[in-house]
Amino acid sequence: MTARLVFLGRLEDLAGAAELAVAAGPLPDVLAALAPNLTDALLDDRIKLALNGALIADRAGIVLDEGDELAFLPPVSGG
């Protein structure tokens, strides 16, 4: 039962990889299993989340299933 976390922007440097396979389950459990500095960064409320390609407005109650992709999107700096 694995899900995938995707890290954009500077979060990729913090995570040490653009993607990470994690055990599926409730988001708080998933985050708690990561390195503490990465967990802290991911909890920043300026970071938006997309589950399987769709933005989610409220991160409370997210439970990752087998094969889910959860992307962490820091403030953008494009153009």
Partner: protein, 147 residues
């Protein structure tokens, strides 16, 4: 109506603009903006990252918003992703319209939204070291102009 592309390789703005003008000969005016990697400020390389499921769909939505808001004959948005060197084009926006103000405003609107709303993350390499670029306050105030 709208031609929106996420380019993974270098593109030639002159060729794209010529093709756009040829495709919209009935338009009385074409406005365009070209963004390129700044040279001479110590930046060796620029890297733009995107997120596949969101970036191009978001650009399509932006194009639709512009087409709805102004009377346009055509709209072109090309945005690079990947690594670029100084002088290389990053983004080209062009709008064709019967009257110039619609074309100019649509390009301005699209650029403000591309800078602050589109799903791109930028880092630059100086003296061999990469660093991520944080959003600027001006990007948000530019966006506020459009209500």
């Amino acid at each position: 109506m709208a031609d929106v592309r996420l380019a993974i390789a270098p593109f030639d703005p002159a060729i794209e603009l010529a093709a756009f003008a040829a495709a919209h000969q009935a338009a009385g005016g074409i406005a365009s903006f070209l963004g390129q990697v700044r040279a001479g400020e110590g930046v060796e390389c620029l890297d733009l990252r995107h997120y596949g499921p969101l970036t191009l769909p978001g650009m399509d939505e932006l194009a639709q918003a512009a087409v709805t808001r102004w009377r346009l004959d055509g709209l072109l948005i090309i945005h690079r992703t990947g690594q670029m060197v100084p002088g290389e084009p990053i983004v080209l926006v062009a709008a064709a319209a019967r009257h110039r103000r619609d074309a100019i405003a649509a390009v301005d609107f699209a650029m403000d939204h591309l800078k602050s709303r589109s799903w791109f993350w930028k880092r630059e390499k100086r003296a061999g070291t990469w660093s991520w670029i944080e959003p600027r306050a001006e990007d948000y105030s530019d966006l506020a102009r459009w209500g």
